[in-house]
Symmetry: C2
Subunit: 675 residues, 2 copies
């Protein structure tokens, strides 16, 4: 009986841990991802910019974007410094260092994503003059820079922080830094982009009847800038933060659950990175094939490879097969959520078609119908998350729940690559139109854009699902940290916490949407003023004052994002210190539940209003300019801040609040009024 | 030590229980309330109807309303029979009998409310010709018939059922009957009224530019019918069901908590009835005083009397003072919720004013702004409910939570009286306009109507708060029945249940709103057809085909309400039988949380869009006919089904689902797949 068949594996394990081999592997994988991103960056940069007109437009967009980012980061620095000091004194120096590193990584990921997008858009437009096959890779590799840089920075950063501070609770600081920057980027960028979009559309398209992206529109540059600061920089930071949060949550739960538990999340994430890197090389537009298919192929290959690698890891490290099942349940749920979300927004499905049809009876019914389908669309993803939770728990306990989050987010590198492709080609189309590159080029740009929209619908649903299961994992991590076994809704304090918690996501959404509304109000007045006061503008004889519009969007966005951001940090602290840790658990649970509802509702109804409008623009129910079209434009305008400002910020809000709770948990346990 | 100072009280208690004295008192109080209602009924009936033109219009409305109610009850009977059979065989004959009685009481309350409203509206209009002081009491006593009949029927019915079947779990059947009828009445009536309203407004007001309630509008009678079947019959049934549910929940919890526990909820409710009856006699419009003030005075007096009576009961029955505090915390929370809700909808406060202002930039920003303020308005009432829960628990344990629900709903008699007054005077105004009674009469009718709107805003918030705390009490009752101590959100099954639960209220809202949309689509086409095909209609030379519009609204409403109603009964059963009792607890908790969000959001945003429009109609931002007004009309049309169809039905949905869970709990415990 002295013979131990597992002795070999044990020695292997001890060797891995003692020498930090697993950590080293994760770190190197992160670096590889960054190196591939740099390779793509160089590839894109080498392409030609095109005509001088194109360069001019591109420079104007760049200038506006950089100006915005500069101001945003300046405001952000104040926040970061304040929080660093607070963390330093109240939580500990290590956490505050981790926090600063997380902030820097997140900010850098956002900056890089925007920088490459600004390079890639004009180059894609230029390459479109020589055909789709030339243009597509520039757009996609541009997106892949963001995708791979994000996951690379996340895993390399986490590995490094954990190497120096081998305590998952300190690593929380890294995640907090990443998330707070993401909240700024997402909410600020979201307010900016919709301010500009609504301003450009409502006056330009609706009142003056000029086409989208027309250079006569004073808000057109601001609109293009918005695509970059909102969709690229914001979205990049957003997925960066969900990704990091899910890994950290899993590390915390893993640390108390099993040997290697704190390291496994990093190892599996590394596997996801390798799968994503390989996946990106499989994205190739064939001569006749659609670019949308190419993007999806890349995603499927990444999923398959990740499943394979996960199996190998489980086998090699002699882990329980339950962990493998948990990971796969998350991965499958992510895909299912993406696909079902797609149904509710696709241009050729009942929800969008029906919404388009009722537009004939006016804007009110269009809005009511879109609102309703958006509300219905909440159910399938929630069932998906619920099933993944139950299955992963069944196979691997609470650690399983965390690992299913890792499974869902594993393919983030590929997802972000496909997603960041969208705004790049959208901008390329805009540049092509403003530079008057001709019908054929615009058609190609349109094709590229359509593929981007399809990819976006799927990845958006996916992102919400991933964020949902990440925050559930964070909630589990919170209970571990504060040492409570239950969050019992029958406990009146927990119930009170939950009642406050469910009100926060709608409050936050409302504040950002009101921000958009206020800012758009200013923008609309400015655009109207320019059309009225600048002689010859509508005939195209004079140039509008683009910079003024960019400036309004920038100032307004930063002003409007302060209050919601502060709320995200302060409200959990108030609930915790007044009502205690259990109530704070209820608060987090409540906010997660209502956050998921609102995020799904907003993303999907916004998407379907957009497509209902597009369907009418294709010539149905009276086509462009008809009453139905006018009604659908109103619906689309309502949906815009839903899907691009409030909805996506909610994921980040949930993560930030969960992290605040976990980080300050030790203080709350000690000093709460109700204990 | 043999001397027991409480021996006198004990003997008193035993006497009360042995001789069912408390039960008898409750029953008699219920009867008194019904008798006073009959007295008001006779008073109103005695008033004069007015001109033959008025009688004609009144008869047309009556005819349509009766036709609707007949069809609705015919459909309902099928449901009731099926459920009676199911309850008979699976739960027990007593429960099925209680169920039938509950259904009958609820249906009768709805019918009575509508009958008196149809009598009171034309008589109020007629009396308005002789001044406000003459007209006001007819409107108010008409409302009081509904208010007092409802609480009377509820308490007398509950007392009788409990006398024959002294088991609170059987009394649940009564509550279930009441709630399912209420769901039909509320959702069906809600779809009807908004179908007609939107049809009348969109074509009549917006397209044809004729005033509201103009007799040339083919949908005008359907619109008037809708006010009665939706606002009066539906709302009456709705508060009947919340009221009954809170009493039954408290009886169940009380039965296992303390001596007399099962009876106390009835006794305190009886006290509330007496307070309400006295309160109604204090509602008198002085010559110069505003009718709105008179309504509020009645409410405050009722609150004060109820507090006094409660104190006396606690003192006389030698109960713990904690129970008194619990009751008062509920009452105070109810008032606070009503007042804060009022802020978000009032015509002279920031939310409505700001929404009116942004209407200048178009419908989209109007909708976004209203949506946002509606979302913000969720927080204060939830804090109110949370605080009431914590305080009442602190003073009297879980029974305290149930008693705070009783406290909040105690003044239902008065609240419904003031609320039912609204649609009566609204209709009176309509009849005055259609009968062309002249400017002065219409001005008086307007004043009466404005008072109704203010009362309505407060009572609506109150109703949601009351329903919220009732379903929390029902949730506690559920855990008592199935014998679980916690609903732990960290249990993956509970979490999965909660995830499904939160998706149901938005799903239900969406189905009813889509129902309105579909039905309004038919109605709009019909109204357009009539204006086009009936010669001389727009000039007022020919009469439109009112009956056709009434018919479309009726058929459509009944068709569209089947699916959501069936869902309300079936989904909890599926969750329970598949995932088990704990998951079902999570499901209920989730549905309560998201139901509260949506109910508050919809009621308040709908109300504020309405008032933003009215503010513009008062001549601001361009006044009637301006672009801002058109935008505000779209917002109001979006808000209509929010505040009058989906929002109010949600309360009832939550109650129905909770009752289904509690009723079938014994079966679920036995046969669930996961136990």
């Amino acid at each position: 009986m002295d013979l131990d068949p597992f002795v070999g594996i044990r020695i292997f394990h001890e060797y891995l841990i003692a020498n930090n081999i697993l950590l080293l592997i994760s770190f190197i994988t992160g670096l590889i991802s960054i190196i591939v991103a740099v390779y793509f960056y160089i590839y894109v940069s080498k392409q030609k910019v095109g005509t001088s007109k194109m360069k001019e437009i591109s420079d104007a967009i760049k200038e506006g974007a950089i100006a915005f980012l500069k101001r945003q980061y300046t405001t952000l620095i104040v926040f970061v410094i304040i929080l660093t000091v607070i963390l330093y004194f109240f939580i500990g120096p290590e956490t505050s260092i981790a926090y600063v590193i997380g902030s820097l990584c997140s900010a850098f990921a956002g900056f890089l994503g925007m920088d490459i997008a600004l390079k890639a858009n004009v180059r894609t437009a230029n390459a479109a003059r020589r055909g789709l096959k030339r243009a597509f890779p520039i757009g996609f590799y541009g997106g892949a820079v963001t995708g791979l840089a994000i996951v690379g920075l996340a895993v390399a950063g986490l590995s490094a922080v954990y190497y120096f501070f081998p305590d998952p609770e300190i690593v929380l600081g890294f995640s907090f830094g990443a998330s707070l920057v993401a909240l700024f980027a997402k909410a600020g960028g979201g307010i900016y982009t919709k301010t500009a979009d609504i301003g450009a559309d409502l006056v330009g398209k609706v009142e003056m009847n000029i086409p989208e992206d027309d250079p006569r529109n004073p808000a057109v540059i601001a609109d293009n800038v918005g695509d970059n600061v909102g969709d690229v920089a914001g979205m990049g930071a957003d997925l960066f933060d969900s990704y990091v949060a899910s890994v950290v949550a899993a590390m915390i739960i893993g640390a108390v659950t099993m040997e290697l538990g704190a390291l496994l999340p990093l190892v599996f994430s590394a596997a996801g990175i390798i799968a994503s890197v390989i996946g990106t090389f499989f994205v190739k537009a064939k001569k006749k094939g659609s670019p949308g298919k190419a993007l999806n192929n890349g995603t499927y290959i990444t999923c398959f490879l990740f499943a394979l690698f996960s199996f190998l890891i489980v086998y090699l490290l002699a882990l329980d097969m339950g962990i493998f099942y948990a990971i796969i349940s998350g991965l499958v749920a992510g895909i299912v959520i993406g696909i079902t979300s797609d149904y509710y927004t696709s241009i050729d499905r009942t929800p969008a078609l029906r919404t388009a049809e009722v537009s004939k009876t006016g804007a009110a019914i269009n809005i009511l119908t879109g609102f309703s389908y958006g509300s219905i669309s909440i159910l399938p993803p929630l069932i998906g998350i619920g099933v993944a939770t139950v299955i992963s728990y069944h196979f691997a306990g609470i650690f399983g729940i965390a690992m299913s989050a890792i499974g869902m987010l594993s393919i983030t590198g590929m997802i972000v690559s496909a997603d960041a492709y969208g705004p790049i080609v959208d901008n390329a189309k805009g540049i092509a139109e403003q530079s008057r590159l001709g019908k054929k080029v615009i058609q190609i740009a349109d094709k590229l854009d359509a593929a981007g929209n399809t990819a976006k619908a799927i990845t958006k649903g996916f992102a919400i699902g991933a964020a949902g299961i990440s925050v559930i994992a964070l909630l589990v991590a919170y209970t571990e940290i504060v040492g409570i076994k239950t969050i019992d809704i029958m406990n009146p304090f927990v119930l009170a916490g939950a009642l406050i918690g469910i009100a926060i996501p709608p409050l936050f959404s409302a504040l950002t949407i009101l921000g958009v509304g206020k800012n758009a109000f200013r923008m609309i007045n400015e655009v109207r003023r320019q059309f009225k006061e600048i002689p010859g503008l509508i005939k195209g004889k004079t140039k509008p004052d683009y910079a003024k519009c960019v400036d309004i969007a920038t100032k307004g966005a930063l002003k409007e994002l302060i209050l919601p951001s502060v709320l995200a940090v302060i409200v959990p602290l108030i609930v915790g210190f007044v009502l205690g840790v259990e109530a704070l658990g209820g608060f987090l649970a409540g906010s997660i539940l209502s956050g998921l509802i609102f995020a799904l509702f907003m993303a999907n109804s916004g998407g379907l209003w957009d497509n209902a409008k597009k369907y009418i623009e294709e010539g149905n129910f009276g086509g462009k300019g008809s009453d139905a079209h006018k009604a659908a434009v109103i619906g689309d305008t309502v949906g815009d801040p839903f899907k691009d400002t409030a909805g996506p910020s909610l994921d980040t809000l949930l993560v930030v609040m969960s992290l605040v709770a976990s980080l300050f948990a030790p203080l709350i346990v000690k000093y709460a009024l109700i204990r």
